[in-house]
């Protein structure tokens, strides 16, 4: 039985269990912390840095999704400083690849776009990279558009941890990092892919989508994948 701990979130005392992360505890307590790479039911990787929080006595910002709670911890989930950094993160994501919402299948249903709107991002403050990115249309039913990928790796984890196929991974480093499947084969040629579409459903943007949907038509069902994931292995 995990030991009970008590922490303060934005000044309120909240009960938690040892081993839980700040994000889990805060969300359970009804606190809003934005996140793109985190998804309930999947392992946390702290990739997107949107869930950063301030912890008293710690000189740097910590990702809530990978930081375990400690007894007596005092966490701030919202401040001017956090808002500034979170906006910066979304700014970077938007400038890194080619995100043209107006012509995207996920326009209106995109988590990245939703956060940009929530944060009031009307302009991107960094120079656009305009990288030349491939579009993989080789799969019969799905499309992978690297232009819209934010490397959250939800697809990597859902495939490995829930479907058990581990088709996806990341290749290269830094700004050259790319999603890759089965030693860099086109999706349509990947033999380990079961075609279940979980990766598509958890993708927060229009990077992975079902083929044939016109602009604005692709809606994702990440909630049902989360539900499925939490039912596996007796997890809560």
């Amino acid at each position: 039985m995990a030991q009970k701990v008590s922490i303060r979130i934005d000044g309120e005392y909240v009960g938690a269990k040892e081993g839980q992360t700040i994000l889990e505890v805060a969300r359970k307590a009804g606190k809003y912390i934005p996140a793109l790479c985190y998804m309930e039911g999947l392992s946390a990787v702290g990739a997107c840095r949107l869930c950063i929080v301030e912890v008293s006595g710690v000189g740097r910002l910590l990702p809530a999704c990978t930081t375990p709670v400690q007894d007596g911890m005092s966490v701030t989930t919202n401040s001017e400083k956090l808002a500034r950094y979170r906006r910066m993160v979304v700014d970077f994501l938007l400038s890194e690849r080619n995100h043209y919402c107006a012509v995207c299948v996920s326009n209106g249903h995109c988590e990245l776009q939703g956060l940009a709107q929530k944060f009031g991002i009307t302009h991107v403050h960094y120079g656009y990279g305009y990288p030349k990115m491939p579009v993989d249309l080789s799969h019969e039913r799905f499309v992978l558009d690297h232009n819209r990928c934010i490397l959250c790796t939800r697809c990597v984890r859902v495939c490995a941890e829930v479907e058990g196929a581990h088709v996806w991974d990341t290749a290269s480093r830094g700004i050259r990092t790319m999603l890759t499947g089965e030693l860099n084969r086109p999706w349509g040629a990947i033999r380990s892919c079961t075609g279940c579409g979980k990766c598509v459903q958890v993708c927060p943007t229009g990077a992975m989508a079902e083929k044939g949907w016109a602009v604005e038509e692709m809606t994702k069902r990440s909630d049902s994948i989360s539900w499925l994931a939490t039912q596996r292995g007796g997890r809560e």
Binding site: K211, G212, A214, V215
Partner: protein, 472 residues
């Protein structure tokens, strides 16, 4: 030799300039119409999934996105090799009627009416829609109301007025709501009354423009427009009919894919706008016009009662084949009335409320051509894809492009008649701009380009220095 440059030309859609070369005695020797923007939609769409093309190419234009959407979804329908459900085809046509109504209202009231009603030589500072509102508030309000009606038709069907996502490859993505149909039918009589009033107004003033009628691009050309099997005017779907200046039908294009047998495209050294020509006649002799003037020339009738009545009167007054580009305005107003009547017919058809509005399929053909009439003339979208559906090649021929050669000729004719370099007046140059406006060119569309909206005229001396420049 001197040169006058009109740069930018105003009250048109897109960015252009005109250069007028003068002889030493101040008379016009030759003219050039330059479209000064380049965009590259055909290039940067390479590699994109074909079903994104409607949304991407619609961004070519904010005024006629519906026409691009329709030509694009029609090309995609061909790639999927599907039959669009009949209700969806009717809904698309109804949407296009809304587009014609709003675009024609914009062209006539907002862009050209200041020339026609306030006068070609009136104060340029007041020669705009605000000046019109001041002097003829009822007419200006009519224009705004008519355009609003067209935009509301688009909004009621497609949920958004500009760049909607409702038209999709295979049909449309939602059926028409009965309530929206009622609303449109309720608003329709008001719009029809405006179209009637405006036609009556135009007919009462058209004779005052005798000099313009005789000199605004009267060189005979061929004409091209879409007609149905009965030779009636078509906006959404039909066969391209080519007609010579005497009224003889030269050919009808049976299948969209064979357009390239009839239309060649030449590049001009001084413009980013390519110059399509009627291939069987060759580049030099293949000048044809598209748009309202051409459509009413090639069609045997409109196919709606009131528009047909106006069609008859129009041809009685100006002949079976109307040559003067000034009459683009007249033809445009008849088409606005036609679009309202056609919308009424479609809305009154009970099957318009059908629920089956989309056919679904993957890639079944590697090439697709979509042809529709845009408000400014024939619009062609032609795509090639690989087996996976990635665009390999795209060719877009835009309405204004077809008119490029004819527009150049009209500019030269107007300049020769009205421009006197020895005593240059603003009104002279405004007539040069006005002939461009008669064509209602959309230059952003035609080059699929980016730029500012305007047109300039320059006066250049024999040694090449610009001695005068006018921003109209």
């Amino acid at each position: 030799m001197e040169k006058i440059v009109i740069n930018p030309v105003t009250r048109i859609e897109g960015h252009a300039k005109i250069t007028i070369h003068l002889n030493p005695d101040g008379r016009v020797s030759r003219t050039h119409f330059h479209v000064t923007q380049v965009r590259g939609f055909e290039k940067f769409t390479e590699g994109r999934p074909y079903y994104e093309m409607p949304a991407i190419t619609a961004r070519i234009c904010g005024i006629c996105p519906i026409s691009h959407l329709l030509a694009s979804v029609k090309a995609c329908d061909e790639i999927m090799a599907v039959r669009v459900p009949p209700t969806a085809a009717k809904l698309r046509e109804l949407l296009h009627c809304g587009q014609f109504i709003q675009s024609h209202a914009l062209s006539f009231f907002h862009l050209s009416a200041p020339d026609l009603l306030l006068g070609m030589d009136s104060d340029p500072a007041r020669r705009n829609v605000l000046g019109l509102l001041d002097k003829y508030p009822d007419i200006a309000r009519d224009g705004i109301a008519l355009r609003k009606f067209g935009q509301c038709v688009i909004q009621r069907l497609a949920k958004e007025r500009v760049h909607p996502s409702w038209t999709v490859p295979g049909g449309v993505n939602a059926p028409l709501e009965p309530g929206a149909r009622e609303e449109m039918l309720k608003e329709l009589p008001g719009a029809k009354a405006i179209a009637r009033r405006t036609l009556a107004l135009f007919k009462s003033v058209v004779d005052e423009f005798q000099e313009e009628i005789e000199n605004f691009g009267t060189d005979p050309t061929m004409y091209a427009g879409l007609v149905d099997h009965g030779g009636r005017l078509q906006l959404y779907d039909g066969r391209i009919r080519f007609m010579d200046s005497e009224g003889t039908v030269l050919s009808e294009v049976d299948t969209p894919a064979s357009y390239a047998d009839y239309i060649g495209e030449a590049s001009l050294p001084d413009s980013y706008l390519k110059a399509p020509y009627y291939k069987p006649a060759g580049y030099a002799g293949g000048v044809y016009r598209v748009g309202p003037l051409a459509r009413l020339n090639v069609a045997d009738s409109c196919g709606t009662p009131e528009a047909d009545h106006e069609f008859g009167e129009y041809h009685q007054r100006f002949g079976r084949v109307v040559q003067s580009s000034f009459q683009y305005h007249y033809a445009r107003l008849i088409e606005a009335l036609y679009a309202i009547e056609k919308a009424e017919m479609l809305l009154s058809d009970p099957s318009i409320l059908g629920k089956h509005v989309r056919a679904k399929a993957g890639v079944n053909a590697l090439e697709g051509v979509g042809i529709a009439e845009a408000p400014r003339g024939i619009l062609i979208h032609h795509y090639r894809v690989d087996e996976k559906g990635a665009i390999q090649w795209a060719n877009l021929i835009i309405a204004t492009g077809h008119n490029n050669l004819a527009m150049n000729r009209s500019i030269e004719q107007v300049s020769r008649h009205f421009v006197d370099g020895s005593r240059l007046k603003e009104g002279m140059l405004n007539r040069v701009s006005a002939v461009v406006r008669a064509y209602d060119p959309c230059l952003s569309c035609s080059t699929h380009a980016l730029g500012q909206t305007a047109l300039r005229i320059q006066l250049i001396a024999a040694d090449g220095t610009v001695t005068d420049e006018l921003r109209t």
